[in-house]
Amino acid sequence: MLLEDVPEGDCLVVSLREKRLDAVIAASFKEALVQRIEQGQRNIVLDMSEVSFMDSSGLGAVVSVMKHLGHKGRLHICGVTPGVMAVLKLTRMDRVLKTFASRQAAIAA
């Protein structure tokens, strides 16, 4: 699994360089993001613009990251593709996860 980190002010933009966030990589994705949180990162922007498919394992990993941050941090998501948004709506997680039209909007929010 390939992640790319780019610090932007007090945010860390993490780009997932994979086409699929699914059961195959969900555990390692979650572990990598939680590691960043445990290292002190509190404001994370997750760029999913290369992800065209997500299953419930992948979604669960994203939710887990948000729960790890709790109320002391924030997880903003940008680059949500139609395939990923379809699953967010299907599960109604679009009401919970904060998605933004652009990376800059996610950073600035």
Binding site: A23, D55, S56, S57, G83, A86, T91
Partner: protein, 140 residues
């Protein structure tokens, strides 16, 4: 052409099989195709994790056929399966309190996704064979 696959019960093979099923889904718009693929992946992952418990050498049989009005799917395994009543009792939507951050679901969404995506879905477990059959129309 109908699809007939017999694949090892691993997560990576579940992913590859899902992609092959999705290749039959050209009549869906991109969002429906993603939803359908997610539902297929949910069941295959369920088989790998909960019916076979990642047992080496276990196999999953997958048949899919795209017709004029719908796509039909059949998945068979010979693992421990689940009681059909449990499948039938699963809700057809993911339920949670959006205001309750600590209790948002991280797992257990698969059956709800399958039931909400498919127009009809049936699960049987007889004679050591567990079989899911599902139909989804191209247009709802």
């Amino acid at each position: 052409m109908p699809l007939h696959l017999v694949v090892p019960a691993t997560l990576s093979d579940a992913r590859a099989a899902t992609e092959k099923v999705m290749d039959l889904c050209g009549r869906f718009d991109p969002e429906d195709r993603a939803r359908y693929g997610t539902a297929v992946m949910e069941w295959l992952v369920n088989v790998v994790k909960h019916s076979y418990h990642h047992a080496q050498g276990a196999l999953i049989t997958i048949r899919a056929s795209a017709g004029l009005e719908s796509i039909e799917l059949m998945v068979e395994d010979t693992g421990v399966g689940m009681p059909p009543w449990k499948f039938d009792a699963a809700p057809a939507e993911v339920r949670f309190d959006a205001a309750d951050l600590a209790n948002l679901p991280e797992s257990g969404m698969g059956l709800a996704i399958i039931k909400s995506v498919m127009d009809s879905v049936h699960y049987r477990s007889d004679g050591g064979i567990n079989r899911l059959t599902a139909l989804r129309r191209w247009q709802r």
